[in-house]
């Protein structure tokens, strides 16, 4: 039987939650990110503007008016400020996001219990066994989410997770897109190959050099050629996904074991000559991992470093810290201590940072105060 899988993605989730708190900001370009700070008040002119931001923070979300100015999540705030200087900058309130995340997931579970948690703002739902016509059912889920949270979401319903993930993005915000295999040539093939979850910037670049830009062009490419260029595993997978094939089940019980980020360099880097570049990369990796942890609502105690040398040998080192963390600076300090335990006599082609032994923050106890920080009364 053909499956019916939905991907539900909350629209500009963090920013939308902030708008619930500050309805006066509706319609304004708002960017969530940066440090937690106090607001001067809640009148429009009291809110900090992006142009005043100085620092290395990244945008975790942007409202649609901010996105229209070119700001997107993951973008450095200083860069975002250049695009949208008058956008309002709000600090992230992860406690709230986690609360709303639980609310919307509970609302969906009332209608369809088979849910795969994909993080704080997105889920896959297996609707195969749920009675009801697809569009009507998806609308019912959207309505339930709105009733429970006051927030809008976008849903894609297709025969598998791969296509649903793409479909939910087609009509954002507040979208509802139902696709079948027959729709692939018209709706999926014209899209940029990078729309496929699993084709990142570097694979995308390499496809570009092969003259493959759209998913359709990827589907038309010779499978042997892709395997030759990308290796057996990834090459085969590219052909599969380009044809919309994906048999992965909706996994309702899945424990995230670790969260990691890694990057392969444009060219192999020398530990001494390219020290600054390597430091930058390491700092960014830690920031990203910390961001992933926060977004997914985890803290972790085991922090690991992965290195690949120019001869493709890979080494890893890890360290277990006392208190589970999602703090970029703490992760960086741990990674640096791992770095002291690896030989650095060859050029490097890859760096990776991983945080494992994950706990949801609720179970991890309060984050320990840093030196110079006051202990809290109400944790």
């Amino acid at each position: 039987m053909q499956r019916r899988i939905a991907h539900l993605d909350m629209d500009a989730f963090f920013a939308s939650v902030e708008l619930l708190r500050y309805p006066q900001l509706a319609g304004q370009p708002v960017v969530v990110g940066g440090r937690r700070g106090a607001l001067a008040g809640d009148r429009l002119e009291d809110f900090p503007r992006l142009r005043h931001y100085v620092g290395r923070g990244v945008a975790t979300t942007a409202t649609y008016p901010a996105r229209a100015l070119g700001v997107h999540s993951g973008m450095g705030l200083m860069k975002a400020a250049a695009l949208a200087p008058d956008a309002i900058l709000l600090p992230a309130n992860f406690d709230d996001y986690i609360r709303y995340s639980r609310l919307f997931k509970a609302a969906v579970a009332e209608i369809a219990p088979l849910i795969e948690d994909r993080g704080i703002d997105e889920i896959y739902i297996d609707l195969t066994e749920v009675p009801g016509e697809t569009v009507e059912l998806a609308q019912r889920i959207k309505d339930a989410v709105r009733a429970a949270t006051g927030l809008s979401c976008s849903i894609g319903v297709t025969p598998n997770k791969l296509l649903s993930k793409i479909a939910s993005d087609l009509q954002k915000p507040d979208g509802l897109t139902v696709l079948d295999y027959a729709d692939i040539p018209t709706r999926i093939w014209p899209l940029d190959a990078r729309k496929i979850n699993g084709i990142g910037p570097r694979a995308g670049e390499k496809l570009d050099t092969l003259g493959i830009h759209t998913i359709g062009e990827l589907a038309a490419a010779a499978p042997e050629k892709l395997i030759e260029e990308f290796g057996q595993h990834y090459g085969h997978w590219l052909t599969e996904v380009a044809h919309g094939c994906d048999e992965r089940p909706v996994v309702t019980e899945r424990e995230t074991k670790s969260i990691s980020r890694e990057t392969t360099f444009e060219r192999d880097l020398d530990v001494r000559a390219d020290r600054d570049t390597l430091t930058d990369i390491l700092v960014k990796l830690c920031d990203r991992v910390a961001g992933d942890l926060k977004r997914k609502g985890y803290v972790g105690r085991t922090i690991g470093l992965k290195l690949r040398y120019d001869d493709f040998r890979t080494v890893t080192r890890d360290i277990t810290i006392e208190q589970a963390t999602d703090d970029a600076a703490t992760i960086l300090a741990a990674v640096r201590s791992c770095l002291k335990r690896v030989p650095l006599d060859r050029r490097l082609r890859l760096l990776g940072v991983r945080v494992g032994t994950l706990l949801p923050p609720g179970e991890a106890g309060p984050r320990p105060p840093l030196p110079g920080e006051n202990l809290r009364l109400f944790d």
Binding site: A38, N374, L377, F378
Partner: protein
């Protein structure tokens, strides 16, 4: 049209009691203004920022016609302040301009119609009411108000928890790092009522209440509170939020007890505080047999150290605090002695007044 003939002080005093809440910047221009109502010999001034409204009525203004008008509060206040305190002030209203004349000075101010001025409706329905001396309420506010948060994202901490319960009035304020609690007796019994007063309302009351036995009438109803004292009526919205459970964080069994003379301890801490900086206000307390060492260091590796003799012979203790939180409680209490209880370096400390269970101050340590 003559509005009134008066003296500077007779007009400035009531204006100052309402104009304090007028905000400098806001979206509604008329909120810069004060509403002036002349009715018979009664002059009523009213100002609001939509969250708080203050009204005061004074009598004895003979002559002039009855009318209502609004005019820029700060400008009128600045003008009256700058005039000589003696001498006649004549206020007239012609062609939508309010003219203030005194001696050879003349000021013509733009007005906006009184009908456009936003007013807060007085709460109706079930209310909790009580009366307390202004002095008592003011003193109790002073014991806790400094612990309120300021512009915290946890908006409910930017205010003061007021609990009227039976024959007791309790106040609690906290910024999440320290908490101040004070209670006072009420004469008549009231049903338990719990509200959070906004920070601005608290500051305004602290500024305006008198150190006298004159009564303060408090009416709590719906999401509003009304304070009436002397000629003043202050209406405020309340903060709608859940205040943290303060009772849970007041320690009950801290064993290590120290008693200090308040003034010398304040002097000691003030000296040690000199070598802390705005970013890091930490001081380190090392308690040993018969002595308490208080020390600070800063980023430039400078150090301050003080040693106090104390009547203490228990386990040693090494604990850090934000010195501001310690200075706050010492400057805002006025008894000669204070008691200080500790548990360990990661637990809160409890400050109380000897023989007085109506005041408690809890402060969390700082990691040094």
């Amino acid at each position: 049209m003559l509005l009134l003939t008066t003296t500077r002080d007779a007009l400035l005093a009531p204006l100052q009691s309402v104009a304090g809440i007028v905000e400098k910047r806001h979206t509604l221009p008329i909120l810069s203004n004060v509403l002036i109502e002349k009715h018979g010999d009664q002059l009523t001034l009213l100002a609001t920022d939509i969250e708080i409204q203050i009204r005061t009525t004074t009598g004895g203004h003979i002559g002039g016609e009855d009318t209502s008008i609004t005019v820029a509060a700060k400008k009128l206040q600045d003008i009256l302040r700058a005039l000589p305190s003696e001498g006649e002030v004549v206020v007239t209203l012609d062609d939508k301009r309010l003219t203030v004349k005194a001696g050879r000075s003349r000021f013509a101010l733009q007005t906006l119609p009184a009908a456009d001025y936003p007013r807060m409706n007085l709460p109706d329905g079930d209310a909790t009411r009580f009366s307390i001396s202004q002095k008592s309420f003011k003193r109790q506010l002073a014991q806790v108000a400094y612990a309120m948060a300021q512009q915290d994202i946890r908006y409910y901490l930017n205010g003061l928890l007021l609990i009227a319960d039976g024959k007791e009035l309790r106040m609690v304020a906290t910024d999440g790092h320290r908490l101040a609690f004070a209670s006072s007796p009420l004469e008549a019994e009231v049903p338990r009522t719990e509200v959070i007063l906004p920070r601005k309302t608290v500051m305004e009351l602290a500024r305006q209440l008198a150190d006298s036995e004159d009564p303060l009438e408090v009416v709590l109803a719906g999401n509003q509170v009304v304070f009436r004292f002397g000629p003043i009526e202050l209406v405020s919205k309340l903060i709608d939020g859940k205040f943290p459970d303060y009772e849970r964080v007041i320690p009950q069994n801290h064993q290590k007890l120290l008693t200090f003379e308040r003034t010398p301890l304040l002097a000691t801490l003030s000296r040690v505080a000199i070598l802390t900086n705005d970013k890091f206000r930490g001081v380190r307390l090392v308690l040993g047999d018969g002595t308490l060492k208080i020390a600070s260091t800063n980023a430039e590796q400078e150090e301050a150290q003080e040693e106090l003799e104390v009547d203490y012979h228990g386990d040693p203790l090494d604990i850090g605090f934000n010195v501001t939180y310690l200075l706050d409680v010492l400057t805002n209490t006025h008894e000669d002695q204070i008691e200080w209880r500790f548990n360990d370096g990661n637990s809160s400390a409890l400050v109380t007044l000897p023989g007085n269970d109506r005041f408690k101050y809890v402060v969390m340590p700082m990691r040094i």
